[in-house]
Symmetry: C2
Subunit: 428 residues, 2 copies
Amino acid sequence: MILLKNGLIVAQDGERRIFRGDVLIDGDRIARIAKNIEERADETIDCTGDIIAPGLINTHGHVSMAIMRSSADDLQLHDFLDRTFAMDAKRTRQDVFWGSMLGILEMIRTGTTSFVDLYYWEDEVAKAVKETGIRGFLAWATLDEEFTTQEGNPLSNAEHFIKSHSDMERIYPMVGIQGVYAASKETWMGAKQVALEHGTMTHFHLSETRKEVYEHQAKTGKRPAEWLDDIGFLGDESLAAHGVWLTVNEIRRLARNGAKISHNPTSNMKLATGGYAPLPEMFREGVSVSLGTDGCATNNNLDLMEEMKFAAIMHKAHRWDATVIPAQKALDMATIDGAKALCMEEIGSIEEGKKADIIILDGNVPEAIPLTDETVVPNLVYSMRGDSVKHSIIDGKIVMRDRKVFFDEETVKRRAQELGERLISRQI
Amino acid sequence: MILLKNGLIVAQDGERRIFRGDVLIDGDRIARIAKNIEERADETIDCTGDIIAPGLINTHGHVSMAIMRSSADDLQLHDFLDRTFAMDAKRTRQDVFWGSMLGILEMIRTGTTSFVDLYYWEDEVAKAVKETGIRGFLAWATLDEEFTTQEGNPLSNAEHFIKSHSDMERIYPMVGIQGVYAASKETWMGAKQVALEHGTMTHFHLSETRKEVYEHQAKTGKRPAEWLDDIGFLGDESLAAHGVWLTVNEIRRLARNGAKISHNPTSNMKLATGGYAPLPEMFREGVSVSLGTDGCATNNNLDLMEEMKFAAIMHKAHRWDATVIPAQKALDMATIDGAKALCMEEIGSIEEGKKADIIILDGNVPEAIPLTDETVVPNLVYSMRGDSVKHSIIDGKIVMRDRKVFFDEETVKRRAQELGERLISRQI
């Protein structure tokens, strides 16, 4: 048992309660939340002056691309894609594993306890999940064979990955689809069928760029989300990333099917693919929206706390309305709405009986002051950064204590530096 | 003498050189930059694996508002102003002093070594500058007497402040002007005269909101920057903050007079005052543009590294062009262009003979990996955060070593928490 003593708890429960108290963790679950719990625990963490919050949930990314960080910046989209794909094609399994280790290390250090990944060689990412203690929702990317560099048939690869990773702790295999520009109707529906058979979710890129939308429209006469609805793909197991170039009609179709959106503001802004994901309309129509950092090639970090701030202020600026996406909503998107995106009610808030995915943040850094029940949420969203995360507990296990992760951080950084440097130098 | 050994130096000199080497500091100056300096120094800092960069320059803010952090978020502008001014009117000298201490602590910890402040009671801010070792460009705000809560005449107060702070180390008094909405022609020209007499700069808000522009136009028939040019105010001693609602004609007038702009992207986005400061046009016309965080009421932190990222990606998104404000330009705005904004060529880059305002950043944090000569600048701008600043040297003095500042940090935080909590609770 682990006892968290005397923190300012941002519960993210139904009432969004904020209160001072203790949290008792038994196994992988939150056993009790109360003032002055006297129980004897194996480990007690004094949280006086600190903030206890649910672990953050990053619902879209390509974690292993962390070792390609800062290698293709400030380029027009076609130049960016040329360069990134060229590097990607040269990657080895080793690059993917150590890249994932680097990205997960970064995520844990910035408060993320669950992440969604879309890539190939997800078995390598799964190994990194296993070694680091994070919770991973891993979508093996499928696409038409004519577009892939994967060995073998992508759909078979995905199914094999799911079968071989279905009973592993903290690993939730999913079926990925690259996007309408690389997948035929058969691939989309094949992916859905695999997902339904194995009770997993699907995760895919959707309407990130205008080009993608217009080309699909030219080819099929329909916009991507319309088309996905019409072919019978969309369902409540659908988690779409980006969703920038959506019409209100498409948003309604997503809502009707229970499909979810992962919003990636930093990546969209940095790639300059234009437009702003229509979040207020998604909220109005009842689409669940969560937050993703996307990969390091387009962000270039994995700090979901920064992403909360960007999301909130980007939409304020775009709508000329400072009330759009208030701090509480930004925090919701990174926590409880992320849990909804994954159809996983066990995470995303601090409530008795839920999984113990909890972060403790330093309430005594200058940027957290003044700290009161009223300022704690705006502080988390607008002024604090991922670096203020002191401890991280995932699935009831302390994976980081006083900013020291339990696995060998130095080896991760050394290997990632070596491999990343080689990968980038071969490209430049 | 202080010797920085074996760092990756991002010089920000004319050639924007990046190289590995040592930096020798003698007194307040950079004495030598070379590989393997053998000189015996009083203090040697091993920078192996770390990044040596010029200290960042924050060219607009209200530092003492740090204790009002997160007290007025997600509000429409008039509600925000009502609330902030109400709190502001209740502030004591003590609030301003400890608020400044908190804000400066935060700035030092995130790599800022010089900052510009616009407020009243700048003598309290000056005390905080003195105690913390930072470099402060302090503009006492003048405005028409009918609008002020200052005791006495604001212009006399400003002049008194300048006279009494003209020979102090690291303190550069300036004349502030609130903005066209609160200052008549007489006040503007009075401020300029004081500035010219004492050889200081002027610092003021300019065209932050449409309301300000349209009301001024209704009153005078001219847009603010036009009007300031016509009354003879603008000069190369003019440092204007915001500059969002400017026409190309106004930008040309600013350029012709050598006036400078401090760009405050986060504040502008968060307040949702609409529009985007026309930076590409400012660059084209030759206006010097630097970066400011603005105050904590509108940001809500003072991390200039975050500001670099926001500046770069905001304009990419707005222009649908990823090549706008590349990483190098964002870093320039926060360093060498900040020095230009202050007409102070002695800071902003690492070159022999310049002031020793230097930060050393941890090159071994996950978000800095891979670290190469090619990735270091995009890493600084896009992936790293202020928290990676390990050491800070200002005016040749180590003000922070291994993230410990030389002054009493705990007292600053305790006092700021007490006073901030009181200030906010009286308001809510």
